[in-house]
Amino acid sequence: MRRSGLPTLITFVVVVLGLVVAVLAAGWSPLLGLDLQGGVAVVLKPTSVADEEQINQAVAVIRNRVDAIGVAEPDITIQGGNVVVQLPGVKDRERALELVGSTAELRFRPVLQTFPNPELLAPVTSTTVAGVSGNGANATPTSALPTAPTTAVQTSTTKNEQSLGMPGGASSGEYALGPLPRRQSTPAPSTTNAVATSVVAAAETTTTVAGVTTTTVTPAMVPATTNDTLNTSWPPVTPRDEDTNDATVIMPEYDRKTRKETFRYALGPTLVTGDALVAEKTQATLDPSNGQWLVEITFKDGDENVGTWRQAAAACYQASNPQVCPTGRLAAVLDGIVISAPSVNSTFSSGNNAVVTGSFTQEEAKDLGQKLRYGALPVEFERQQTQDVSATIGRDALKAGVAAGLIGLAIVAIYILVYYRILGLVALTSLGLSFGLLWAIIAWLGETRGLALSLSGVVGIIVSIGVSIDSNIVYFEQIKDDMVGGRNMRSSAQRAFHGAMSTIVKADLVSLIGAALLYWLTVGPVKGFALYLGLSTLLDLVASYFFMRPAVVLLSSTGLAERRPSAFGVRESRGHQGAEATA
């Protein structure tokens, strides 16, 4: 068998280099996992037995939510019955996790009474009122926020109707529910707001900005809310298991920014559930008439849907049914937390639409829209593990991993070169080529499948250096064995390969079986590790067959081994041995 192997060799090298160049040209680069670039990961486990379809539905809902907050490369997978959500690059951990994990049914409950947080209320002085009225509805709270503690408190007390902990947005918001505004209507929200806030002492400002019907301020509201604030007691929050649709409950509301509890509400039995909403038509939009962000809600047809809504609205509008809805406000409750408690300023006797208005920032409106829209997941999840990696720590880990890999590689390279000389060079080139291939594949996986390279993957690759080099060592040692036995390199190079390759395949298959099983059966980082270990093992086989063998055969056919034995680190021994034998 006297094959030159040159065509194979050249083809392989060209293919590998071509792939690497192609990937470079396409501008692809490996997608870094969140432990390398920072971000948030959470493992969600269903609290009850859930079938595959429910989980898939949940994943779809979670994906929608994640897409809605604009994460660049979200990775949402089902792993062994758990949903694993990875949000690399996300800065605001709580906001993201809250959106991903909020599982409860959305409920609209009438507000019976409001209790401001006494801790926050205490420092509020008359200056705050002035501040609010001065700012008006379009107050830019970001400017007011970081100045002094009293201002911060003021902001949080004023914005009683905001959703649960979504830090990141800040606004003193006053929200109202109204029918869908007609485009030509031009209410003057800022003035109404200013009036309202100046009337209400500490907090309760509920203003109405919605459509033609609301050109007049609803005077009934203001006294109602001020009455609420007179009651400063602080009732305990209803425990989760007592939170049923029929019960009268106490629910908290949190400030978006500070995550401090701002209000507790006494809420009546549920009037409308999230099931009545058309999810696709619940969204944040910009009211073109006044440039305000609002949240549009659309109800499904039918008595059990929009019908319940109309009843609720009728009861709450101007608190016309004080038994049911004494304050005229309707709270949206998600997961035991009040996300918004707007007042109702229409009876909604016709149409399926409503809007929630207020001085929303875009972010706030979108957050609220998403919560209303994707309120219910088909199964309830609990967080099994959350991981929040800062970008700095991620970058440091990547740097350390790469540095460790390179230095380890350099030491191995020196050792292999000293020991095997020219054959060592073959081993290193082979390693380099399979690395190139691996890099191209990782980049491709990242680009097309969204598969990220995690720290455990990096470790898998570093470990595979040993395995890859080993294939070469097995082969070289076999050649050496043959040559000690008296063969020349030319004949042993071909022959030894068969023995060596069968060993390599057998051993690599064990690694592959392990990697495949791990990939299949495990969760999270172990999976990533298994993927890259398996990949690099496969590439090792490819490189052994298409590069190592033709390269060594080619080298041996030059006769260099016979002329310069020391260059291969193999034949040297023979001379000595001969000398010894004759001595």
């Binding site: 593990q385 880990a397 040993g466 080993d470 036995g485 999270g524 590790f529």
Partner: protein, 369 residues
């Protein structure tokens, strides 16, 4: 000629049969010790197995006691606080309450005078540890079954599957023992590293077994040596490869440990590195000193190889035992000559590559039979 030099030239011949005795004794002692340690001291299970929250604060200005002072008013002063590397403080606590977690985060950020975004937070529910352990154990059991089947078929010898499994279990027990002894924290990274070790240990064992398999015709066909001696010879033949492979595998791992964790202070890399280092060393050792003697022992009891041994024992005195010792002293010319004769003599069954060359037929003085 120094031992190293002989190794380099592939002329080594160690009497592994004798070494195995020491090796097996040492292994048995280590395994017993590990199990004892494990039952006495247990393992230092990390956050992921216990549940709770960890905050990683990138700072070099905070000391452990300062950190504790910061945390005291928050009611989490009993937290485990440690410095990792030079510029990381890690706080661990049993709490999983989001509000509390945020509070601690802010407090730590304030004390370290950094942005709270820079603090990495990991929260683990109490049942997560069971979940991953159960999954890992299930994967492990299936892995063992698959590998046993694979080795049985690929090497056509179920005894090798037994040897490989015993060696792997030996590796796990000793690695776990080291973790128990040093009370190093067990994390998911550790689990991954252990799984790698299993793979590597099996990989190494299979390389040795493949050589033994290749040499088996020496016993089964030529009938010139006992299985045990053949196994010892095979080990001598793959020894240099084992050493080189172990070095090339250990060097990057050492690099992970030294460069990655000690210089850069990347904690996850440290977790990987320690487990990998321990496991790699034990894994290489076990394929030579545990896996091989077990196979030799089992095969010596199989009828076919027993007859060979009995025949050889009746024919020769102690000399036959160390066939491989001649390997180094055979003049090359003789080896090449004999090689042709040897392959011819292989009565129909093709002798494997490397057999005749690396193990030249017996020298003349044995021709007296």
């Amino acid at each position: 000629m120094s031992g190293l030099r002989r190794l380099f030239r592939g002329e080594n011949n160690y009497d592994f049969v004798r070494l195995w005795r020491y090796g097996l004794t040492a292994s048995a002692a280590l395994v017993v010790l590990s199990i004892g340690l494990l039952s006495l001291r247990g393992l230092n299970l990390g956050l992921d197995f216990e549940g709770g929250t960890a905050w990683d604060v990138p700072t070099s200005s905070l000391s452990v006691s300062e950190t504790r002072d910061v945390l005291r008013p928050l009611g989490v002063a009993e937290s485990k606080i440690q410095t990792v590397g030079t510029d990381l403080v890690r706080v661990q606590s049993g709490t999983t309450d989001p509000a509390k977690i945020q509070e601690v985060r802010e407090a730590l950020a304030g004390a370290a005078e950094i942005d709270s975004d820079q603090i990495a937070v990991t929260t683990v529910g109490p049942s997560w540890g069971n979940e991953i352990s159960n999954k890992a154990i299930r994967a492990l059991v299936l892995f063992f079954i698959a590998v046993s089947l694979y080795i049985t078929f690929a090497l056509r010898d179920w005894r090798m599957a037994v040897g490989a499994l015993v060696a792997v279990v030996h590796d796990i027990v000793i690695s776990v023992g080291v973790y128990s002894l040093l009370q190093i924290e067990v994390t998911p990274a550790t689990v991954i590293a252990f799984l790698t070790i299993l793979g590597f240990s099996l990989y190494d064992t299979v390389v040795v077994y493949a050589r033994i398999k290749d040499n088996t015709p020496m016993v089964s066909v030529a009938g010139r040596t006992t299985y045990t001696d053949m196994a010892s010879l095979s080990l001598n033949q793959v020894l240099m490869r084992s050493i080189n492979t172990s070095l090339t595998a250990v060097l990057p791992v050492l690099s992970i440990l030294v460069v990655g964790s000690w210089i850069f202070g990347a904690t996850t890399l440290e977790e990987f590195g320690i487990a990998l280092l321990v496991g790699l060393l034990v894994g290489v050792y076990s394929s030579i000193f545990v896996a091989t003697p077990i196979v030799a022992y089992l095969n010596e009891r199989s009828p076919a190889y027993r007859t060979v041994r009995e025949r050889l024992a009746s024919k020769a005195t102690g000399e036959t035992r160390r066939v491989e010792s001649r390997k180094a002293t055979v003049p090359t010319e003789v080896a090449s000559d004999a090689q042709a004769a040897g392959s011819g003599a292989a009565s129909g069954k093709k002798l494997p590559a490397g057999y005749s060359a690396s193990h030249p037929p017996r020298p003349r003085k044995n021709k007296r039979r």
